[in-house]
């Protein structure tokens, strides 16, 4: 029994960290360690995910079909076999884009309320 494809808007807003993970995967397939390092670099060391948290996030994103595990390379052994790769799905890109749009609207709203300068203007 295959459940119906979820509605994009049901998944919004995304949590900041989940969105960050999705953005890393939007740039290409990656495994857990690389994702942690990338997010750490992008946040200037502010966000350091711990293993338990990262895998809870990856699992939720997988459950919601935003990302998927890629098959392990045939010859992989040992550590490389245990480091599994993740890839963003087309649906994940859709949701990511929707979330970015939502955020963009909020930024525009903030600018309209003179909270910040509108960079796009």
């Amino acid at each position: 029994v295959k459940p119906p494809k979820p509605n994009v808007n049901d998944l919004l807003p995304m949590s900041a960290v989940e969105f960050a993970v999705l953005l890393v995967l939007a740039d290409g397939d990656s495994h857990g360690y690389a994702i942690v390092k990338e997010i750490e670099a992008r946040s200037d060391g502010q966000i350091r995910l711990l293993p338990g948290n990262l895998y809870a996030i990856l699992q939720r994103l997988t459950d919601s079909r935003l990302i998927a595990r890629t098959a392990t390379a045939a010859g992989a052994t040992g550590a490389d076999k245990r480091r599994r790769n993740y890839r963003i799905t087309p649906f994940g890109r859709e949701v990511g884009a929707a979330e970015a749009t939502r955020m963009k609207r909020m930024v525009e709203a903030a600018a309209a309320s003179d909270l910040i300068e509108d960079a796009t203007r």
């Binding site: 979820p6 049901d10 995304m14 857990g32 338990g52 996030i57």
Partner: protein
Amino acid sequence: MSRRREENGPPPLVWRRLYALLLRLYPEPVRRDAGPEMQQLFADLYADARTRGGRLRAAAFAFRACAEVIPRIIEARRTIDSRGGSHRTIDSRRGNDSGWPANALSSAIHSTDSHRRSRMAAPAHDASSRTPLPRAHPEEGRATGMLDRLFHELRYALRTFRLNPGYFAVTVLTLAVGIGANTAIFSVVKGVLLDTLPYQDPDRVVGIWQYTLSSGQRARMTPGNFADVRAMSDVFESAAAFGFTSATLIGADSPELIRGGRVSASYFDVLGVQPLVGRPFRADEEDPGGARVTIIGEELWARRFASDPGIVGTTLNLDGTPFEVVGVLPRGIYPTYATVNGETPFTPDNHDFLVPLRLADDSSSNRRSHVLGAIAKLAAGVGIERANEAVGALAASLAEQHPEVAGEGFRVDLLKDEITGGAQAALLVLMGTVAVVLLIAATNVASLMLARSDARRSEIAVRAALGAGRWALIRQSLVEALALAGTGAAAGVALAYFGVDRIKALVPFQIPRMNEVGIDVPVLGFTVAVALAVGAALGVAPPIAATRPGMLDRLRQGARGLTADGKRRRAQGFMVAAQACMAVMLVIGAGLLVRTFLQITRIDPGFSRAGVLAVPVSLPQTRYAGAGDALAFFQRLEETLTASPAIASVAFGYDHPLGKSWGDSFRIEGRPEPPPEASMGASFRPVTPGYFETAGILLIKGRIFESTDGAAHPDVVVINEAFATQYFAGEEPIGQRMRIPSMERMFGDGTTPRWFEIVGIVGNVRFNGPTEAVEPAMYVSIPQVPMSDVVMLVAPARPGVDLPGAVRSAVWRLDPELPVDNVRTLDVMLAEAVARERFNMLLVGFFATIALGLAGLGIYGLIARLVHMQTKEIGIRVALGARRAQILGLVLGGALVPVVIGGGLGIAGAAGLSRLLAGLLYGVAALDPTTFLLTPLLLVATALLASYLPARRATRIDPVTALRND
């Protein structure tokens, strides 16, 4: 190479196991799905933290990662739990397909409720689908149910901790100190006392020693006697001899003096060990003309050869001679050498290399040179008594055949008993000390829990009223206490992890096998057992008392009797008395050890040592064959060094003032030859003229050596005061002459007499360390008794000069292939000589201080509670006109009475137990009055300090507020 590997290698076993253990707590599907991946990520991030911030940062990461995963496991189990029950009752915003947690913030990421519910319901409802049932066995189901109930209790406990972070922090820290101390000391006890030697059959491996019947002094074996022992095949299955050796390893790096052992080929059979790679020695390699082969130690193999297995078959340049490497000896194989006094040091030194022991053809007739250590494997079925009888018979027959060596006996001891030696008493005292610290800590926590259960009385009453049975209440309390103890144990292991390194740094060499000590799985097992015991004791006793059948009903009725308060007070007073008692015992023990250490540091070692450097100089026979070559080299070295303005003086001696040198016999002119068992002996010490001045040894009478005391002049000897007292009582030693037979054998034909005239008397030096007896010594002049293996003493002209650097460059200017290492100052050596006493004092003192602090905390808790409970009473008294002093007396009296009672019992207990310490004391009586009188004052001071704050609060109670407040 090896360093980099270490930095980026996997996390220490302890962390890996702990993390794997935690991952196993995840529900089965999650564990199977993500376990390896998370374990790998944990290892990757650990290596990352280690490269960036070192061990400390990596440990911090590991700790956070372990802590972080616990709430996630609880969440994951909760989702599985709710899935396992009726699907209608689940909180739909929490569950999901995988059993993974979904926190409130991110729950929006999930699909709609309806779709999720259908997904989750699928395995339970759709009987026609092929989905396997999640629980195949009913047993498994029951176990999971139990586990889930425990998780429920754990969640409840964690929630109460979150609400009382202060209580949580204090109890966990207190337990961490107690459990950490026990873990650290147990790891030492296990590594030193409990771990068996890495031999095939440790119960059959023995050491065989000779000893002087009259004095009981142990000595090494002579080659002749060893040959006889080796022939006793009915008693010893195999026997091997061993002795010290050193060589200069010349290679790509700077020349290095390596130290190791010469061993019989049978050495490997006796111990039942195999080289890591390569082969043991062969019997034909013991022949004087056999192939030159060596087996190198694992540590040297790793340090200089990057653990390359290809080392076997290559050649090493030792003292300029090529040696073929035939194998690698694993770490931790003892003994490789024996000291002059017949001790086998179980330390990591002298493990660089082994060469076959080659005895001269005539060795079987040599019954005078005590140079060999001997080990053997008992034949099957032969016990230690039987072996001692056999060697006793051998000694008796030898005494008949060779009257010149009469008065010597043999002794056989299990090697595993040798090892524990002097360390056993100190370690057992330490183990007892930390056990008491843990008791005090646990008492404190019990007291805190008692106080809290008072505060939670209404909560317990509600739970009881809602029908919670006695067992449920006990179980909850137990889970809570176990959670506290578990967290305390985890923090304690972290403390111990760093503590063990500090302990190891305190005594690098004085405790056998200390280098092998570490926190491993059995030690962690011990910690878990301790934590369980503490948790069970803390968790079960209070609720059993609180929920006695009658009490439960009263709780349900919400009763708050005064009698309960009285009982609580008594219980708490009892606990404070117990703590005071235990703390006093520890502090008295520590006081005795501190006084011992002070006594020892006050002993005059016999030399002044400010900054004097001792440098072993070992000239290889191959390049310094003649006696003149070595002397000339020493002279040039002395000239080069003294030319430097930084150096005041330079001298050479066979050994430094804290070295044992060797003991030798002598005869005094004009006295009849004594019988063999009463032969006269003294420490034999060849030195150059400047030795006494450089080392700061005092001249008492006569003169010291002069530059004219060379080979062409009459032989002279300088004796110490002990020599004069022992052998010249009432006579004038100066001017008398003596013979030293071994000198005649070494430098002459062995029969022509060589007379040494006594020209001076110098002060006694405590060669064997400050606590050892002064022994007679004779100093001879190195130009007259040439040595090529010496220690150079270098005295600095002023403090703060880089002596080692100057010495190295001077030596290498003269001979670039000469090793200069193991360079230490006499101050450092003297400190090492008292390291064991320092170790005892520091560790017991440290733990006693902790015990005192914890007891102070307990007293503080008691008085604070007394003040709190008596607020109304104090208010009434103040209202009736009581003065501050009276209030203070009321409060302090309540606390000091148990302290004084406990302290008194502690003094009595210490008096009874201090006999156990007697072996560790020096110059202090076990019932030292100073210590016994002063330490109770320390306790009283602590008690007053601890009661100051609450007592002050009591005196400021405003009667109006106190009485209105009901």
